[in-house]
């Protein structure tokens, strides 16, 4: 049974988890965005991101990209494509191919993202139709297809407890362990003053 989360929550947690898994801050922002994007289309975005971050933990960004042999990372490739890099047949498997979807939204037409046995249809409106291809690395092809009516977006994220726990475990690595010095100084108050805020905390 999945938990009812806001899209903003799953985005913030995924971005933190990506940071915890060693991704650069700007890439982690994209990870958060991609997770929420998938959740809004009814997919297990949190589970997909947790699987990707675990599978690629400790591997350098450049070793997950198109210039090095080995499975490609959909975040590295996705950032490259998002920045205007061209899609081509990489002839290499891609980790958790579902995560490519947010980055290959066609500008004008609908496409099919074929990942192994699973085919995902994407439209310019950002809809997504098709089965979750799973997390095993597979080769991916992209081809154009006839336009289709977009599915309505969801306003909430379904997050499984397992995905939540996995992302939280990674996110915790971004928190500095408390020390006597930080307790005394970090908050600047010696422990007696409030730190409340009146803002949504999206940091």
């Amino acid at each position: 049974m999945s938990l009812d989360w806001s899209l903003g929550e799953v985005e913030a947690l995924s971005a933190k988890a990506a940071r915890g898994a060693g991704r650069a801050y700007g890439v982690a922002q994209e990870a958060g965005y991609a997770t929420a994007w998938l959740c809004a289309r009814g997919y297990d975005g949190a589970g997909a991101m947790a699987a990707l971050l675990r599978a690629t933990e400790g591997v350098a960004h450049t070793d997950l990209g198109p210039e090095v042999a080995g499975p490609l990372c959909p975040l590295v490739l996705g950032c490259f494509l998002s920045d205007g890099g061209a899609w081509r047949d990489w002839a290499r498997p891609i980790h958790v191919p579902l995560i490519l979807a947010p980055f290959v939204i066609p500008a004008q037409s609908a496409i099919i993202l074929q990942a192994g046995q699973a085919g995902l249809k994407l439209s310019a409106q950002g809809a997504l139709i098709g089965a979750d291809p799973g997390s095993d690395p597979v080769e991916v092809q992209i081809s154009s297809c006839a336009p289709f009516d977009p599915q309505p977006l969801r306003s909430r994220a379904g997050v499984t407890p397992a995905a939540r726990d996995a992302l939280m475990a990674l996110a915790e690595r971004t928190y500095a362990p408390a020390t006597a010095a930080s307790r005394a100084k970090g908050a600047g108050d010696g422990g007696s003053a409030p730190h409340a805020d009146v803002s949504p905390r999206t940091d």
Binding site: D4, W5, S6, L7, G8, E9, A12, R23, A24, Y25, G26, V27, Q29, E30, Y33, H61, T62, G65, P66, E67, V76, C79, F80, S82, D83, G84, G85, S155, R156, E172, T174, Y175, A176, P177, A178, T179, A181, S182, R183, K185, G186, A187, G188, D189, A193, P194, H195, A196, D197, V198, S199, P200, R201, T202, D203
Partner: protein, 556 residues
């Protein structure tokens, strides 16, 4: 932005505006979110009702306050608790409060209230849903609370001077909005006209909390003495809602660059409009003279014990005296009165006084400037990077946005003295000393100027498009995104060094809180401050007959 500005008065240079010292001197204005909210509710003739009051003589139970607009209703669901004194903590990590709240989208039925009762009092440890827009809590000012209850129970009104000294009966210790702890995402309400401006759900929550708190204190007095009078309307208005705000808010200004740009651009546009006016009418001149005199009283009444703020207040009082003197000597009926006054202020007033003048100049001109409220929200979908940009153009952009960062010696200890991080113990933003603690592994990228300088260096030997550079240097991705946004959103980027040894986080807090509409900033250190919200504002039951914009300065 609407293009109605006179072309010869440009908006102020972001290199002047986006400085910590100036941001730390911002004042509330017509474009503050509390005022936007009250103006709309007044204009649309919102109605307000207390739909449930199930609070016992010990002050425990719940109440529901519903605000009904033209299309939708919003309900504050308030839970009042009997909090043992030893558990009363304003720390954000507290686990019990005098009262807890949520703003419900619509009018909750008994089933919904039961669900909320099981979650809202737990705050961060509970869960809320897309039906809830905010989650918040408040603690009593014990001294003020007891004084008011005892005075009313004794059949008299509390002492004015003491009321003015404290200014609130409860202070919120957090008001969480958009998406937090399961609450509705901003996107779910962003297309509603009444929620389109920033923080309207949060401001409405606090506005209704204020009404609840006043009703609760009178209820407690009547529990002691059924004949206890209500607070006199004049005295009642003097109570706002207190708030203590700390480092938790500071990263917001750097994490929401597009939003911050829209806030500041709206105000700067408004200022340029007023400065460009060829003449002022008698009514407009009278309005300005009146509000300037009231702002001078505000500067006198505004107290603080903190040395930083005491110095700023001394400046502001001198500035206001100078402004009033100048107004005596100035013929505002002559051409371009406000631009002449502005230019005089830029030459003669401190930064505090200049920013106060900027806010005051908007006051007579609601018909011109209030529309800018519609441009203050932002779609915060991550800014798409233009990967085709040539790295040489990116270097030129950095030269334009961050010239100071490029002339800073980042190897000196004071230039990078600070580290922004989040502690495992509190899960709260903190500020550490780089020299004293090994925190680099946890550093948050809350230093746009330093990061821009590092990017500039990294690009020195590079050629070709940004996309190829980022493929090999992902660590600069966030900086490229920021800088490309700043190219078209110039107020998005703070131009000072937010890691410097002399940086005071309260400057960041005040910039944000001024846009909320808070007054009387009272720093308690360089990292947290106290404020009051909605002090002197008309209550919901008074709004129909009150001026929604005439409460931010002391009564004449």
């Amino acid at each position: 932005m609407k293009d109605t500005a006179a072309p010869d008065i440009p908006m102020r240079d972001p290199q002047v505006v986006m400085r910590l010292a100036r941001m730390g001197s911002f004042h509330q204005s017509r474009l503050s979110f509390m005022r936007i909210l009250l103006r709309r509710m007044k204009a649309e003739a919102w109605s307000f009702a207390c739909n449930a009051w199930q609070i016992d003589a010990q002050g425990m139970g719940h109440a529901v306050y519903t605000a009904k607009g033209p299309e939708r209703s919003y309900s504050l669901v308030a839970f009042a608790h009997d909090l043992p004194p030893d558990q009363r903590s304003d720390r954000v990590i507290a686990t019990a409060w005098d009262a807890t709240f949520t703003l419900y989208d619509g009018v909750p039925d008994a089933t919904e209230i039961a669900r909320l009762r099981a979650n809202v009092p737990l705050q961060e440890a509970g869960r809320i849903t897309e039906r809830e827009l905010t989650l918040s809590r408040a603690n009593r000012s014990v001294r003020m609370w007891d004084q008011v209850v005892q005075a009313l129970a004794a059949g008299r009104q509390p002492d004015h001077a003491q009321v003015d000294e404290v200014g609130y009966l409860m202070r919120t210790t957090a008001v969480y909005g958009s998406a937090k702890f399961g609450a509705a995402d901003r996107a779910m309400i962003a297309d509603r006209p009444e929620m389109a401006a920033p923080f309207q759900a949060e401001m409405l929550s606090v506005y209704l909390i204020r009404a609840f708190v006043m009703d609760l204190v009178e209820h407690m007095a009547r529990a002691l003495n059924p004949e206890a009078p209500r607070l006199s309307p004049d005295l009642r208005r003097r109570f706002g809602i207190g708030n203590s705000t700390g480092l938790g808010m500071a990263p917001f200004l750097m994490n929401h660059p597009r939003l911050i740009h829209n806030w500041i651009a709206a105000r700067e546009w408004a200022l340029a409009q007023v400065r460009a006016l060829p003449v002022a009418s008698e009514a407009e001149i009278t309005c300005f003279r009146d509000v300037a005199a009231r702002a001078a009283v505000n500067a006198t009444d505004w107290g603080s014990d903190h040395p930083i703020q005491r110095a700023k207040l001394a400046d502001l009082r001198a500035d206001m005296a100078a402004l009033l003197t100048q107004l005596e000597a100035t013929d505002l009926r002559a051409a371009r009165p406000w631009d002449r006054l502005w230019c005089w202020g830029a030459a003669h007033l401190s930064v505090e006084g200049q920013e106060q003048l900027a806010a005051l100049l908007l006051e007579p001109y609601g018909g011109i400037v209030d529309q800018a409220a519609d441009w203050m929200a932002a779609d915060e979908t991550p800014h798409k990077i233009d990967g085709a940009m040539d790295v040489a153009d990116l270097r030129t952009l950095i030269q334009r946005i961050h010239p100071d960062a490029l002339s800073t010696d980042w190897t000196t200890p004071e230039a990078q003295a600070r580290v922004w991080y989040v502690s495992a113990e509190k899960l709260e933003p903190r500020l550490g000393e780089r020299a004293e603690e090994d925190l680099d592994a946890y550093a948050q990228p809350l230093c746009p100027a330093r990061d821009a300088a590092q990017l500039y260096e990294a690009l020195r030997e590079e050629t070709g498009p940004v996309a190829a550079f980022l493929l090999h240097h992902p660590g600069h991705r966030h900086s490229v995104r920021r800088l490309q946004m700043a190219a078209t959103h110039p107020y998005a980027e703070i131009r000072d060094n937010t890691l410097h040894a002399d940086m005071a986080p309260i400057d960041l807090l005040r910039a944000k809180l001024s846009f909320f509409g808070t007054t009387r900033f009272d720093p308690r250190s360089d990292r947290w401050l106290r404020i009051t919200m909605f002090q002197n504002a008309p209550f919901p039951d008074e709004l129909a007959t009150a001026d929604p914009d005439d409460w931010s300065y002391p009564a004449p």
